[in-house]
């Protein structure tokens, strides 16, 4: 059964059809949430909540838009809610916590370096270090900049797709990306100029 048929059936109230859609898009939805939240457990919870909200909002979904674009927008919104709540807690606690900490407070790497065809062990080690530093720098971006960087670079969405997901003009996405890159360059001075890896 194709996506449009599943969506129509789900709109008519079929939970079975909707769960089929969940099966299809759960990995991608969770991956977006992991990129934004930097925490697998939170990402799982947020993306599941997004699916629930999507089901309840299905009557408002218009077939002119792509279902995935609409779904990913709900996922992004849910993650923004989590990030805002996290910022509030951090403000009240008066101490910074990293976004990439798991429930036990341990840092869990979210990004990984894609090695070249025949990587040496040195390449792999330095690649892991670059990924770690990039992850730290991305976590320091504003929520909006982190969102555009995650969707465009880490999820490989085109600028137009990112714009559709976050609901703004492509030009705005480009401007946000340029600003995000400027911040990342500032944070990654050593990595970019030091010639590592």
């Amino acid at each position: 059964m194709d996506e449009a048929q599943l969506v129509t059936q789900a709109q008519a109230g079929s939970q079975e059809a909707f769960c089929e859609l969940v099966e299809r898009y759960q990995a991608k939805a969770m991956s977006i949430a992991v990129g934004l939240l930097g925490n697998v457990e939170e990402a799982k919870d947020a993306s599941q909540e997004a699916f629930v909200k999507a089901y309840r909002a299905l009557p408002q979904f218009r077939a002119q838009a792509q279902f995935t674009t609409w779904l990913y927008r709900i996922v992004v919104n849910e993650c923004q809610t989590v990030l805002r709540a996290r910022s509030r807690v951090r403000r009240w606690l008066f101490f910074p916590t990293r976004d990439t900490e798991d429930a036990a407070g341990e840092t869990v790497p979210v990004l990984e370096f894609v090695p070249s065809a025949e990587p040496s062990s040195r390449d792999v080690a330095s690649g892991a270090e670059v990924a770690r530093q990039l992850e730290g720098a991305i976590a320091r971006l504003s929520h909006r900049q982190r969102t555009v960087v995650t969707l465009h670079y880490l999820q490989e969405m085109r600028v137009e797709e990112v714009a559709a997901v976050i609901g703004c003009a492509p030009g705005t996405v480009k401007a946000q990306l340029a600003r995000a890159l400027r911040h990342l360059r500032a944070h990654l001075n050593g990595v970019l100029e030091g010639g590592s890896p």
Binding site: A27, M30, Q48, V130, V149, R185
Partner: protein, 115 residues
Amino acid sequence: MTSPSLEALLRRVRIRPVSDDALVGYTAEVRRRLTAAPTPARPRLQWWPVVVPLGAAALLLTAIVTRPTFPPTSLSEVALAHEAALLSVLAPEEPLLPDDDALLDDLAWLEELSS
């Protein structure tokens, strides 16, 4: 790789793929949330049942402590004072009727006038 551009670096990293273990029970949990009764809105914390009695108690305590005569007089003293006030109204210092001598003088004067 020397002095890689930032964009090149960003294209060399990716989000770790979501493991199959992380997705175990994922759909079942979504299904559970869908079928679960909608979570009732958390009741808003009512402040007045706590604040109003506490405020009243604080005001009463303040009034008692700041009274000029503290500790307060006993109830019997209050009752006695009340009784005394009532008696002072009912039996004032000045007699309500003129004394007998004055009355007799007045009567004698009236008799003289009429004779």
